[in-house]
Amino acid sequence: MGTDSQVARRRTYLDTADWRAFQGGWILEVDLENDGEVPVTVTFRDRDSEEVLATQAAASAPAYATDLPKCAPWTDLAEAIEGRRLLVQADTETWTQRMAVLNADRKTTARLLLERHVVTGPHDGRRHTLRTATVTPIRGYEKTAERVDEILVEAGARPSQEALLPAVLKLMGRPAPASRLGPGVPLRRTMTAAQAMGAILDRLREHVVVNEQGVREQLDTEFLHDYRVAIRRARSMVRQADGILAPAAARSLAAELQWLAALTGPVRDLDVHLEELGPAQGDDLDPLRRLLEGRRDIVHAALIAGLDSPRYAELLESWRTVSSAPADAEEAPWAAKPAGSASDAFIARAHRRVIRRGKKITDDTAPEALHDLRKRAKELRYLLECFQTLYPDADRTAVVRELKSLQDNLGEYQDCQVQAAALHTMAEALLESRAAPAATLMAMGRLAEEQEKREARARHDFQARFARFSSPANRDRVAALVGDLGKGDPG
């Protein structure tokens, strides 16, 4: 065996926080020179075959889809990433040793590439080591390579055909990216309701923690969106799961989650307004964009102050411990019962609430009733999502489909109302500060008018959507999912 070189290579794996490249079947790598200097090489691979689809020299690692080359196949990747920030998901330093298998004439009869990958996780900074070996046959001496391969497999070396990234992630103690998405934690119907709720709340807390850095650094707007979705889900679960958690601990956590939702709300509202306006393009709406961006900076600073406060640290701590807070059977009658029957009962109750309130709405009902119905529909949706692993996929998605259709309608109605009202308020502010020409105010007027038209359309469509949701056929679907709706009502 002869050795001829050992080189170090630094490679980072990039992906969005929600692993869009990986989900799309791709891997995005950035190779840095030994000294970490520019330029870098960006490589775009097929996730499963590891085949290189494209490679590109660049001055620095890409941060957004807009930094990728504007040609195929990069455009497929850019489309999947959308506006999300590319983050370093793993950082590997690889030491390569090339060896040759020699015969009696000192002729090379196979090549052996031994690699030692030192992997650093982005969150915990812990270092792990992974060793791989790749055998390359030499023409006319294939049997030697086969034998060496056998020896390596016997010795437990990682087969060279396996994609490196999943092995790297496993090594870092992180679940495979595919299982990281969504609130669905593995649950069993026979586990206790308290255990199931603990697992769900832990997962949601993890979502908040994972997205926090992106919220602080404003990497992209999706971090805050995902962060807030996790808060809303947790709040909804804590409030709806009465009878599972210790009431005092649950009440206190729900109140703190409400505080956190309120703290993050203003930034999200401004993100939505800015997204509606689209990027700056030198048009009449630019003064409005500047106004909104200025406001956003102010509310973001307030958000950071909140995240730095002891109150936030305490909230995360109480979130971690709420499911293990002691509760007696009288206070929490569902805690020790099977998760399956608890979940059935909660979903059935939430469904009944939506039906009951929806039925009361007529064309003359005040908008607030529709807003309230939207909240109830969300509660039902969160239950269906958080307890999803207890139900067969097909049955659950059938119920979610009709619910989503109703939610879309209610969402459109409320969003348009909020947007139109906000435009009116902002127009007044601009007028008062004389910060915008008349053209801007007129353009805003047109936007508000458009929102009002959409709002009217949504209101008009509501009855038909609700009729479908509350139809006997759809009620049967819910009954198929959670059993007899009359049974096990906890409240």
């Binding site: 040759a100 004439d105 000192r106 002729k107 090379t108 030499i138 023409r139 006319g140 001496y141």
Partner: protein, 253 residues
């Protein structure tokens, strides 16, 4: 696929050294390169540390009974492969003589791997024979190393005459003759005669390349190191000379 032969009527003039070093340079540039060691002595095969054995021998190979694909060996260098020598090649003249269209057989042997290589270098045995004729039929370019002695021009003339006679022997065949380019090898500039011969020939003939390969102890080490000079002495004058020669071959060949 480009086929280049290193050929000389005389032995010991640096044919194998040239074949091995130019093949290495070709592969180093990224061209998939094959050396076919046609000399039964197997010097190129020895330099690449490969056993001088071809399953079935030369006869089966030229008669198309062995698949060339299975006989090729990878060398220690990326993109550089070898079709080894075999002692039975000493009867290759006879094997070719018994076959139909004998001069076309070497080209036919290489046909199955045509897509696999960008460059094939034939290291030929020293003689004027049916094997040489077959080499001239297969190659586009014949590189002739010459020691700067008083008679090198005669060797070149002999070669040209041989090609003319070949046409006369096979009037029905209109195979295109290869381009012949000679160059000086084992040059010792301290010897006046060498300088004189080189100047005269360069002045009188257009088929002699300007690059010259010096006599050097670095070449003697090839047999011990069993590798091209570029590999173990890349900054030696010997290595520089082959780099210049390869450049000129690419420009003029």
């Amino acid at each position: 696929m480009r086929i280049i032969a290193t050929y000389s009527i005389k032995g010991g003039v640096g044919k194998t050294t040239t074949a091995v070093n130019l093949a290495f340079l070709s592969a180093a540039e990224g061209a998939r390169t094959l050396v076919w060691d046609l000399d039964p002595q197997g010097a190129a095969t020895f330099l690449f540390r490969v056993k001088p054995r071809v399953k079935g021998g030369g006869k089966a190979l030229v008669r198309g009974r062995s698949e060339v694909d299975h006989l090729i060996k990878g060398t220690d260098f990326d993109l550089l492969d070898l079709l080894p020598a075999d002692l039975s090649y000493r009867h290759m003249d006879l094997d070719l003589d018994q076959a139909k269209q004998s001069t076309r057989l070497l080209a036919r042997v290489l046909a199955p791997v045509r897509q696999e290589y960008d460059c094939v270098i034939l290291d030929c045995p020293p003689s004027l024979s049916l094997v040489s004729e077959s080499v001239f039929d297969a190659a586009e370019l014949v590189l002739v190393p010459m020691i700067p002695s008083p008679l090198p021009a005669r060797t070149l003339d002999q070669l040209e005459q041989f090609l003319k006679d070949k046409e006369a022997r096979h009037p029905s065949r209109r195979a295109k003759d290869p381009k012949i380019l000679a160059f000086f090898s084992m040059v010792d500039r301290r010897r006046r005669l060498h300088g004189q011969v080189i100047s005269e020939l360069l002045a009188s003939r257009s088929d002699v390349l300007k690059s010259e390969v010096p006599a050097s102890t670095v070449f003697e080490q090839m047999g011990v190191r069993r590798a091209p000079v570029e590999y173990y002495a890349p900054s030696s004058p010997a290595a520089l000379a082959y780099r210049a020669l390869w450049q000129e071959v690419k420009e003029r060949g």
